[in-house]
């Protein structure tokens, strides 16, 4: 990723939620980069810290109780964490935009969709109200909704169309960087296919860099270039799509793949990951996945595994690789 233009550069980010009598360690020592025109899939289960990471990029982590303990986030050449509220307002929507998970709640019910898209244009571009509204109508058309519907209210749209309106708002000012937090989770499969197709087209047309947050490895396979797998606030494996899917290294990633029903092999038994995610207020001293891991050894319980390079683009945090010749069961066939 060295010779490409890096749009997002997060280094050693740590975010904690400090509550009265406990601290939730939501994101721990997280580093990732996204290059121009690339889509990174951020994968993990509930509570893995995906959404907190996204909110940190927009400086929207609720404070209190959220505290950014350390690290840096750069979008283009701007250091996000050092910016004031006013400076940040200029960046949101213009440089970085976000598509939230639930289109039903992220639109304002008392304004027409045209007005809501125009609002974002007005904030960032020096245009008149009429021009902004005209731009809004064009954006609607771009996401596949007829122009004349700009004067309608959110309740007149179906779920899939609302999500397209949300995408239109996010794209209103051609952001350099887009964060999509589970953009299709609330949608039906056939509608999801339409929205994913739209996002793919936009990526090709405008070269927008993207972080796609999801728990669905099927969606990742569909539109991502790179994948980062999160577990208990840490990225446990990171690599290109091909590396993570076909040359899986981390036992947790392997567990995720094994617990998915495969449409081609219906008689194989599912292999769930035993146990549960650790309590984020009391993370173990060693590897957080150790209690559920089938390759665990004494060293895993002692201290955090460091990121290890498997290839220049592929890193994994797992102590088992200290043993020469270690292989997990899945994925060596690729």
């Amino acid at each position: 990723m060295n010779d490409q233009e890096v749009v997002l550069d997060i280094r050693n980010l740590t975010v904690h939620y400090v509550l009265e009598n406990e601290t939730v360690e939501a994101v721990n020592d997280l580093s990732l980069q996204v290059a121009k025109g690339k889509t990174l899939g951020l994968v993990g289960e509930t509570g893995a810290g995906k959404t907190t990471t996204a909110l940190a990029i927009l400086k929207l982590v609720p404070d209190p109780p959220g505290v950014i303990k350390g690290g840096s986030i750069k979008v283009g050449d701007k250091d996000i964490l050092g910016l004031t509220k006013q400076q940040m307002e200029k960046i949101r929507g213009k440089d970085v935009s976000m598509i939230f998970q639930d289109p039903m709640t992220s639109l304002n019910p008392v304004f027409t969709v045209g007005e809501q898209i125009a609002e974002s244009v007005l904030l960032h571009e020096h245009v008149s109200k009429t021009e902004a509204y005209e731009k809004a109508r064009e954006l609607l058309e771009m996401v596949g909704i007829p122009k004349f519907r700009a004067s309608e209210y959110p309740h007149q749209f179906s779920g899939g169309m609302k999500q397209r309106v949300v995408i239109a708002i996010a794209l209103a000012c051609n952001p350099k960087f887009l964060i999509a937090d589970e953009p299709t989770t609330a949608l039906d499969v056939t509608i999801q296919a339409q929205v994913l197709e739209l996002m793919k087209q936009l990526k090709e047309k405008y070269g927008t860099a993207m972080i796609l947050i999801t728990h669905d490895l099927g969606i990742v396979a569909e539109i991502c270039d790179d994948v980062a797998v999160m577990y208990a606030g840490r990225i446990v494996e990171k690599g290109t799509l091909e590396e993570v899917f076909n040359r899986t290294c981390h036992p947790y990633t392997e567990g995720l793949f094994n617990s998915l029903p495969n449409i081609h092999r219906r008689h194989e038994d599912l292999v769930p990951i035993p146990g549960l995610m650790p309590d984020p207020t009391a993370l173990p001293k060693g590897c957080s996945f150790a209690p559920r891991c089938s390759y665990v050894s004494a060293a895993c319980l002692e201290s955090q595994p460091d990121p290890r390079e498997v290839s220049p683009t592929h890193t994994v945090r797992c102590k088992a690789y200290d043993t020469p010749g270690f292989r997990i069961m899945r994925g060596q066939h690729g």
Binding site: T46, G160, T190, Q192, A193, F245, L260, R266
Partner: protein, 315 residues
């Protein structure tokens, strides 16, 4: 079908709304063999949940017959129906809202045992609760915890234990895993499967997730706007889908693997309104193959040979 436990004939459920009659379930027919699993698949609003609730009369059907072991349960009186419900149970989608937050695990699971007077004596009841907890994989130490202390997977296990408490023969599983994380989903699916093997349970499994259906069900019915558009043994449905909607649905599943994607069918347009639908194929507006006849008459569900039926004018 060899040993049919449940047969549904011409099931209809209409809801009155301000704008007209909403046809949630419109003339649905199917049967389920003992010890097997029928999957009902469809997108939101297709009537799959309403169908599931009608089977237990949690929602009173507008018309139709529901034959459970030969008895039309719609003809049963209140008391007889209650008795029947000992054999028929349901597991709900959302383990966060389907449990009483003020009841402990013990209180939740013992409730159906006590209400139905299955066992008497507090010690015997507690033994039974512990036995059920073991069956569904809940640790004994959790017996006095409240739902808010437990995660989604464990809550769903409580829901399953409660459904099993009265030894049912038949369980409607309404999206039992969609609120859970992937690694936990597999745990619950495996549990339901092993319970079926051990206790000879029959399931109607309602879901929107086709890859789960493929793994879990013996037969599948695909619903669209209140009607079954295609029904077939699972393997046949996945290898040879005939209805255009089923084809689109199957092609829309994002697969967690790399490689070329073969022919995704992107549907245009939005789902039609279920309120006072006209006499036409309800999928016609989104269908790439629609002809004039599709807009003027409703296709019947026709049997095309071993267990495979389709409702489409063009097949």
């Amino acid at each position: 079908m060899d040993d049919t436990i449940l047969e549904v004939r011409n099931l209809k459920k209409y809801f009155k709304t301000g704008r007209g009659m909403l046809h949630a379930v419109d003339d649905v027919n199917f049967s389920v063999a003992r010890g097997k699993t029928l999957g009902i698949v469809g997108e939101s609003g297709c009537g799959k949940t309403t169908t599931g609730r009608c089977l237990l009369r949690l929602v009173e059907p507008t018309s139709g017959q529901i034959l459970f072991e030969g008895t039309d349960i719609r003809k049963l009186g209140r008391r007889e129906m209650r008795k029947k419900l000992r054999e028929m149970q349901i597991i709900f989608q959302d383990p966060f809202s389907s449990l009483d937050p003020r009841k402990t695990v013990l209180q939740t699971i013992r409730e159906p045992i006590v209400t139905n007077r299955l066992i008497s004596g507090e010690a015997a009841i507690e033994d039974r609760v512990l036995q059920l907890m073991e069956t569904v994989g809940l640790a004994e130490r959790l017996i006095n915890t409240y739902p808010h202390e437990l995660d989604g997977g464990r809550r769903q296990r409580i829901g399953i234990a409660r459904a099993l408490a009265i030894n049912p023969k038949f369980i409607v599983c309404d999206e039992p895993i969609s609120a859970l994380d992937v690694s936990i989903q597999a745990q619950i699916l495996n549990l339901l499967k092993s319970l079926q093997r051990k206790m000879g349970l029959t399931y109607v499994f309602i879901t929107h997730d086709l890859s789960v259906v493929n793994y879990f069900c013996d037969e599948v019915a695909v619903m669209y706007l209140g009607q079954i558009v295609e029904k077939a043994p699972t393997e046949l449905l996945f290898s040879n889908p005939l209805h255009p909607y089923t084809k689109a649905l199957l092609s829309a599943i994002p697969l967690p693997e790399l490689g070329p994607r073969t022919g995704r069918i992107l549907l245009k347009g939005e789902i039609a309104s279920p309120i006072d639908p006209p006499d036409a194929c309800r999928f016609a507006k989104r269908c790439a193959y629609a002809i004039d006849r599709c807009n003027s008459s409703t296709p019947e569900l026709r049997d095309l040979g071993p267990g495979h039926s389709v409702a489409c004018h063009l097949v």
